[in-house]
């Protein structure tokens, strides 16, 4: 095991400024968007997102090339006074995933949120694109910052950007969903903030590595860990704190839902994993970790069963997110502290594969669901018939995403669940293994139910609209990535361990 000091940022590394750009450039675009009053909105957004992808890929290549994390000391002030950014393997991975999905979602929303030419600025485009940029910026911040308060600002920024996307349609239901989301999320961030207060009180620094280096299992630290964790759980919508997720994700426009489900919930999850595996690794006690895994298990079962009983497609997909988030929490109990490093590495890789595979699969699935609603004019599951005629590629996208969600090979979802299962059974944690399998069976049931309806004959009198091929291809592309991840070998991925003490 590497000493914890190794996590500390000492100096800015070559290429470290990419981390700043990843966070700041979307903000620059956001300022331009507001300042220019809608002129060239889409051009600005697409330029910013392309740049985002460039930055993410460069970061990933640099991390992979040097086999060590990138770092940047903002303003030249070292912790504990200043703030540093740091990108290790998982940061780089998530940056790439996030940039790719944002780009796809933007492509999908390209026509829906076009600024009408020659007319005065319209509401929806400005709101939507601003929020997308802010989310992109906030996510990169969450993936790279190593200052706990800076991260607090990041998760708040992420929430505030997600709210307008949820509420953009403006009906009473979506407004209610957005208000719930906001109130609950702010509750969560307050708890998180109090945890930080305690940590600062105990260690006099907010730097993750600084805290990790002098971590003591005293009462303040234990309480802080509790507050931080529970606060982030509220933001991650782990069962039973998921009340806001289904209506919010179902109420947003398709491209928005894709980003919310695929990435936004992963922001706080990322932080949670960062904290437990990099900051408080020695506090990882079986009792607490089992509590997290138990919540995850309940999320898998309850989320899947509820999804199975939904009558609206988008709600079904949203509940499936509730279930899929659950899988990611098994890692807390499956990666034991100290012993069984092979098992820990397997569980670690499985969890990240699940994060990434779910991101692509769910993004593709939400886009496909959006296309379905567009073709049919509604999203009642029982009347989905005829979709395969008008939008066959969207159905294919839904099917491929479903393949990954239910964990059938070849797909990233299978690899993730297989590795989590291996870790569970090798570690003797049979119950979690059984839940992982049961979740797959239930996912199969709800995916199949929808697919069968989509392939059926159209209902009498249904009028089907045509949708463009381009957007179907985008949905299909995202789903295909989830499936192609299944070609990875079933072993721990070294990249995910770069820059970690594990």
């Amino acid at each position: 095991m590497m000493p914890l000091q190794a996590l500390a940022v000492t100096e800015t590394t070559p290429g470290g400024s990419l981390l700043v750009l990843g966070i700041v450039m979307p903000a620059v675009a956001l300022v331009a968007l507001i300042g220019l009053g809608g002129r060239g909105a889409r051009a600005i957004v697409i330029a910013a997102l392309l740049f985002q992808l460039y930055v993410a890929v460069r970061v990933a290549l640099l991390v992979a090339g040097t086999q060590s994390p990138l770092a940047y000391v903002v303003g030249g002030f070292h912790p504990p006074l200043g703030i540093t950014l740091r990108a290790d393997g998982i940061s780089a991975l998530m940056m790439v995933v996030s940039a790719a999905i944002f780009l796809a979602a933007a492509g999908f929303a390209w026509k829906d949120f076009a600024q009408p030419g020659g007319k005065p600025e319209a509401r929806a485009p400005l709101i939507f694109w601003s929020a997308m940029l802010a989310m992109a910026s906030a996510l990169n911040l969450l993936f790279t910052s190593s200052d706990l308060f800076n991260l607090y600002v990041g998760i708040e920024l992420l929430t505030f950007a997600a709210i307008p996307v949820t509420a953009i349609k403006g009906g009473a239901d979506t407004l209610r969903a957005a208000l719930r989301y906001l109130l609950f999320a702010v509750f969560g961030s307050m708890l998180y903030l109090f945890g930080i207060v305690l940590l600062y009180g105990a260690y006099g620094t907010l730097d993750i590595s600084g805290i990790a280096a002098q971590l003591q299992p005293n009462a303040a630290t234990l309480a802080a860990a509790g507050f931080v964790t529970v606060g982030l759980l509220a933001k991650t919508a782990l069962f039973p704190f998921h009340l806001w997720l289904p209506p919010a994700h179902a109420g947003a426009p398709a491209a928005g839902s894709a980003v919310l489900s695929a990435l936004v919930v992963k922001g706080s999850l990322f932080l949670l994993m960062r904290l437990w595996f990099d900051t408080f690794p020695t506090l990882r006690e079986p009792a607490d970790m089992q509590l997290l895994a138990l919540s995850g298990a309940l999320a898998v079962i309850v989320g899947s069963v509820t999804a199975l009983r939904q009558q609206r497609l988008k709600l079904l997909v949203a509940y499936s997110t509730v279930a899929q988030i659950g899988y990611m929490f098994f890692v807390f109990s499956l990666a034991p502290k100290g012993t069984g490093e092979a098992i820990a590495a397997t569980a670690w890789t499985g969890a990240w594969l699940q994060v990434v595979a779910h991101a692509f699969a769910k993004a593709g699935m939400f886009l496909a669901a959006g296309l379905a609603a567009e073709v049919l004019g509604h999203d009642r599951i029982r009347d989905l018939g005829g979709l395969s005629r008008r939008a066959p590629l969207a159905v294919l996208a839904f099917a491929l995403s479903g393949l990954s969600l239910m964990g059938l090979p070849p797909s990233g979802g299978f690899n993730a669940k297989f590795m989590l299962l291996v870790a569970a059974l090798a570690g003797g944690q049979w119950v979690w293994g059984a839940v992982i399998i049961a979740g797959g069976v239930l996912a199969g049931a709800y995916v199949f139910g929808v697919l069968a309806r989509m392939m059926a004959e159209p209902a009498a009198g249904a009028s089907l609209q045509a949708v463009g091929r381009g957007r179907q291809w985008i949905a299909l592309g995202l789903s295909a990535v989830a499936v192609l991840m299944g070609l990875l070998p079933l072993e721990p991925v070294a990249f995910l361990a770069i820059g970690r003490a594990l």
């Binding site: 009473a172 407004l175 209610r176 208000l179 906001l182 109090f194 209506p247």
Partner: protein, 105 residues
């Protein structure tokens, strides 16, 4: 009894009160108010931490104080969005409530 300890106790009490209000108060505006109270309690505790760190001739550690200022602004932003949502919901639904089951037929 030092001022720091007193305000710490007051802050804990405020957090407890606001958690209670947040759980049971029916109207979203009341919940929002409770959230603000919760925030202020957390900030107050941060202020106590800052006060404990008084040294080098300063009455308090300036870092937490600065963070509290940022925190207050962030909390205000949340309030502004929430109030706007609440009012629009009030107009759309005739009543601002987040209790109803969403999307269930």
């Amino acid at each position: 009894m030092s001022a720091a300890l007193l305000f710490w106790l007051a802050g804990s009490g405020l957090i407890g009160l606001s958690v209670y209000g947040l759980i049971v108060n029916p109207h979203p505006l009341c919940k929002l108010l409770a959230l603000n109270l919760l925030g202020s309690g957390v900030f107050l505790l941060f202020g106590v931490i800052a006060r404990r760190g008084a040294s080098a001739g300063l009455g308090g550690d300036p870092v937490p104080q600065a963070l509290v200022i940022t925190g207050i602004v962030v909390a205000f932003s949340a309030t502004a969005i929430a109030v706007a949502l609440l009012l629009r919901l009030h107009t759309e639904a005739g009543e601002a409530s987040i209790d109803e089951e969403d999307g269930q037929p």
